[in-house]
Structures are given as C-alpha cells and as structure tokens.
C-alpha cells in the first residue's frame, strides 16, 4: 500500500462518522472490484437462491438482495457486493472493541464495510450498518493491503468491526488469512447471528471473537434487535468449543434488558454453558438512533449487573463506557492482584508473565502475546 492509498484510508472514518455518507449519493465507483461470489448459499428453482450465512435464511429472487442489503442474486448466482469495500477504517486501541484479554495495550487496525443482518434500535453506527454499500463511500482495500496498512500503523491485529462482519464474511476470511501470513492477529466484533458452518470457518481463520449479546430474552431480540436469541447463544458456545478467544459484551439498555432476573439468567447460562473464564462486559448505553427516548444507563444498574455475575462465580466481569471505574481493570481471581490496569482505552501496568499472575502464578486466560 503506498502513502497515497493509506491517506485515502485515513479519511474514511471522517466520512462514516461525519454523517455525510448517506445524505449524499456515494461517488460513482467501479463496483466490479468489490463483487465476489458468496460462499454460503443454495441455488433454488427459477433463479432464486437461499442464503445460508445467517439464521434468517433469506430466499432471494433474481436481482434482489437479502435482509443485509449487501448480497445480491444475479441470475441465480449470489454475490457479495462488499469484498474489499471498506467504508470505515480507524486505528483503535484494542480496548475500544472491547477486548480485554486479547493483546492489551496494542492497536487494532479496524475496518468495516456497509451492512448488517439485524437492525438494533440502539445501533451507534446505523449510518453505515443500515446502508447498502453503494449508499456510502468506500475504498478498495484488498486483503493484502489490509495487512500492509495494519503493519504500517504499528497494529498488532486487525479488527472487523463497526458494522457486522458476518455480512462481509468472505472478505474477513481472506483478510484474516493475509494477516496471519504477515504475523498479525485478527479479531471479530459481531452480533453472533450466524449459521454454524460459516461460523466454524470463521473460527478457523481468526484469533478472537467478541460477541455483542444484546439481551437474554427473545422478546428483546424480536422487538429491539429484529433477530433471535437462540442462534446467538449457540454461536457463542460454538466459538468457545472451537477455541477462538471469546468475550461477551452486554449493552445494558434502561427498562429493556436491565432486570436483575435477566442478569441472573445470563450469568447462570454463562457459567453452565461457557464456564467461568469468559469475560463479560456490562456496558453503558447512550441514547441514539431509534432509542433516543431512553436515558443513559445509570451506573448503579451496571454495578448491579456486575454484582449478580460476580455472585454467580464468573471470574472476569467488567463495566464498560464508564472511564475510571475500578471494574475496568483485570483482577487475578485468586490473589485479587490488579493484573491489567485500565482507564478508558488506556492501559497502565500489566502484571502478567506468560499468561500468569506475576504475584501468585494463577493462569489468566486470554491471548496476551503476539
């Protein structure tokens, strides 16, 4: 990647975050460079196809797209329209994802394409997640260039984030392969709404997956997310069983998913189905998109969620979007030593040696080194 190309990448976040992408028509681009045959679909009669990438299993007529809006049936062949079509690129601290047990204190080259397979009413990136690829500006960033840009930015990993990597899975798989060859790790930030087969392939290619578990109730998934809970829970179990590093984020939305009963059910399920070592982050909601009528999450609610999860015996329970809170640090569950200190996205002292607490030698699960 030359300097000029990299600078092009650098202004992308401004487009995505500045709200200028959707309001104006995207610049005319040669779409052919972004199109590749999709990996997970079945051909049906009359040139229809069935997408088997996510649990929606959209059946799509010729010239139509599925729910995600980024895959199109063209004459009975299903194509992704977002391979290498990056609409947002940032160099972020890994803590912003958040990953707390995955290369702490490092930078992640973070990219997204347009599209998502759910429509959460609290989406903070709806301008790009709910858009079709041609509605937002994008640049061509093929897998090799992703790895090169990450290395040039002194990033330890690449994060596929902001929108929903499931809908640009082919690109993730190819870019992760290029990154692995270049000695870089890959982390995925996802809603986990994906079918088992593509998920297994994803787990083989990437190193870490953070799942946004939006709630522990189907009602919330139906009314706020436009999806289903069970496939997400199944996906988390699969990720855990296949050995990719997994963390869970639970955005606490006042009045909608913040009952003690729901926190308890979540914590109990995590302990019984995932074990005690999967980190969970209870993060503060801020009003946006279609939920502007709700207040930010009170700190007391987040602390109540943490207390419930702690009481269940989960060992790594964090509070997020509250910079300076003591529950941002990682504590050794054995000796209670602060093994990773954090303030917001900044990392202070790391008291780990070969993945163990320096003080008591307790194993702290995670990926701590390149």
């Amino acid at each position: 990647m030359d300097r000029r190309r990299f600078l092009e990448t650098a202004w992308l976040p401004c487009l995505a975050a500045g709200g200028t992408g959707l309001g104006a028509a995207a610049e005319r681009q040669d779409d052919r460079q972004f199109i590749a045959e999709a990996k997970f679909y079945e051909k049906l009669a009359h040139k229809k196809i069935k997408c088997v990438l996510c649990p929606r299993e959209c059946v799509i007529d010729d010239r139509e797209r599925g729910y995600c809006g980024v895959r199109e049936n063209r004459g009975g062949i299903y194509y992704t329209l977002v391979h290498s079509r990056v609409c947002a690129a940032h160099v972020d601290p890994i803590e912003k994802k958040p990953f707390f047990h995955f290369l702490p204190g490092t930078l992640a080259f973070s990219i997204a394409t347009a599209g998502c397979n759910v429509n959460c009413k609290m989406c903070q990136n709806w301008e790009i997640s709910q858009a079709r690829p041609e509605q937002v500006r994008g640049i061509y960033l093929p897998p090799g260039d992703v790895a090169a840009a990450a290395a040039q930015s002194r990033c330890a990993s690449v994060s596929y984030t902001y929108t929903e990597p499931v809908v640009f899975l082919e690109y993730v798989l190819d870019a992760a392969q290029a990154c692995r060859a270049a000695g870089l790790k890959s982390g995925v930030v996802t809603g986990g709404y994906i079918k088992p087969e593509p998920l297994k392939e994803l787990c083989r290619r990437v190193d870490a997956i953070k799942v946004d578990l939006k709630s522990f109730s189907q009602k919330f998934y139906s009314e706020v997310v436009n999806g289903d809970l069970k496939p997400v829970l199944d996906a988390i179990v699969t990720i855990r069983s296949l050995g990719a590093w997994c963390e869970i984020v639970y955005l606490v939305v006042p009045t909608l998913n913040d009952s003690e009963q729901e926190f308890r059910a979540l914590a109990h399920w995590m302990r019984s189905d995932l074990g005690r070592d999967v980190p969970v982050h209870f993060t503060r909601f801020h009003p946006q998109y279609l939920l502007k009528n709700l207040p930010p999450t009170p700190l007391a609610t987040l602390e109540r969620a943490k207390a419930v999860a702690d009481a269940e015996g989960l060992r790594y329970v964090y509070i997020g979007n509250v910079p300076g809170h003591p529950a941002e640090h990682t504590y050794c569950p054995n000796c209670k030593e602060k093994v990773v200190e954090r303030t917001g996205f900044s990392v202070g002292a790391i008291r780990l040696r070969n993945g163990r607490c320096e003080r008591c030698r307790e194993v702290i699960p995670g990926i701590w080194k390149m």
Partner: protein, 327 residues
Amino acid sequence: MSHSPGTSRRQLLRTCAGGVLAGRTLSGQGRTPSSRVVIARDRALRGGGATPDSSRLLKLLDRAVQSCFDTGSAAEAWHKVARPGEVVGLKVNCLAGKGISTHVVLTQAICERLQQAGIPRKDILIWDRLNDDLDSAGFRVSVDRNGIRCVGNDEWGYEEELLVHGSAGSLVCNSLARVCHAVINLPVLKDHSIVGVTLALKNFFGAIHNPNKYHMNAGDPYVADVYMLPPIRDKVRVTICDALSAAYEGGPSYMPQWTWPFNGLMVSRDPVALDYTGWQIIEKKRAEMGMKPLKAEGREPKYIATAADARHRLGTCDPARIEQIEV
C-alpha cells in the same frame, strides 16, 4: 448530493425550499378523500401485437383518471392532480426489467397529460431506486434540467434526517423529499414472493434507503409504517397502477409463465383501497390457475389492513366502503 451538471447548489436549495412550502399548502390533499377504485380495461389495447397502442392507452388513462376524480372532463381531472409551479414526481416500479415494470408508454402518456395541464417538462421527474433499474425497464436516465428528468435514488441520494414512524426508521430519497411537490404513484399489479402483493403501498420501498429491512412478517406493519413517513403520505396525489400486464406468482421478478395480459389500469386516491382491490384480482387469478391463496402460502398481505387501522388511517380495506368502478 450529486445533481445534474447544470444545477447549482443554490438552485437546488431553492427547489428544496419550494418543496417544503408546496407540501404544506397542499397538506391533506394527498390523503384519501375518496375510496373509489377505477378499473379501466381495453381488450383491444395491444391490437395484434405485444406492445400497447399508445393512442388507445391515452384514452384508457383519461377515462380512468376522469372517473377517479369524478370530473366533467379528463382535462379537469388532470388539473386536480397537480398545478403549474409544482414539480411532479412519477414513482415508477422498474425492479423487474421490461417484463413486468411500469410501462414507458404509460409514463409518457401521463407526462403528456401533465404538460397539457400546465406542468412544464422541466417540472416532471420520473424516479425509482436505481438508474440501472430505470434503464433495464426502458427508461432513458436524464438529469437535463430543461427536459423531463429521469433518475435513480443512487444518483441523487437520500436525506440526512432519519424519519421514524412505528417500526420504520428510514432516510427518504432526495427526489421525493426535496424535489417533488406532488407524486403520482405508478406501481405494477403483481405478486410478491415475501409480502404477498406489491402495489401502491409497497411501491414506496423504492423511496427509502433500507427497504431490505422491512420484509419480515410479510411486510406487516412495515409497509404501512413506511407509507406514513410524511414525504410519502403527504405528497402522493393519486395512484395509477399499471395493470397492462400483471403477475399472479413469481413476483417481484419477471416470470413470464405467471404473468397475464390484464390490459388495464387501476386508479385511485386511496392506496389501501387500491391495494385491497388489486390483491383480490391476484387471488382470483391464482384460484383460476389452481394455485393456493396467499394466506395458505404464509404471505397474506396483512399490511393492507394495518394501513387502514386507527394508527395509520391511510385508506380503507373494507369492501363495503370501496367504490369500485369499471370503465
């Protein structure tokens, strides 16, 4: 927003402001003063060929519009659709290519009548989702400000402000929100494999940036909620449904084995009444052809009833209140 090369930013903003003002003065006229649905048919419309005869089609159109507006002449009716000074948008439906899209010859006939009603060519805008869709249906994309403009949403983009009603939260295309003062809705009489039928209400999925999000539950309540967005609800003056050819299965794509020559137009100021009537026509044809009703296929268009409910009041789907007229 990228716009026609001859249009300055100032001109564009002036047009936008005009749109807002005109929309206010006519607020309410776009709603449903009458639940009359006119079905105009001409068995000899195509003569011996496949293409509709333009002069016969013009007469058919006049009969239908005159009956819909209940005026003494067709010219009088067209004056009720729009008035000089307004930019009139024609929302065509071109997704399925030439096989089962709004016919160019019908759109031309409407343009001709609008001009005779005092709307200059420069104030007529034909639009749909994509330039490619328009092109594939036989329209010639043009942003020449001196002529009739024909443009896809991909060319002119979308508003930046999110509009919300019920389950729908969308950005509305600039063609509709900023440029048009009045809209003539030109859907096609056809089946839809997910939401049952796609007629007057559903056609405005082509006015928003995220239609793919609204097909769940056979489009209910999404189709009704999208139509409630103010630029749609307030600007549509009349629906002229292209039923020259119709599809009773396989839609929205073109499946020639499931289309039939209906040789007609359906015209109404009540989009719900039109949709209900069109749905019944499709069901009748399906029954004739030995096919299951849409309900049995899990795609009954319940959104039509939702559009008529107390939260929407977009029209009526009560057959006793629909005045169906055949001309």
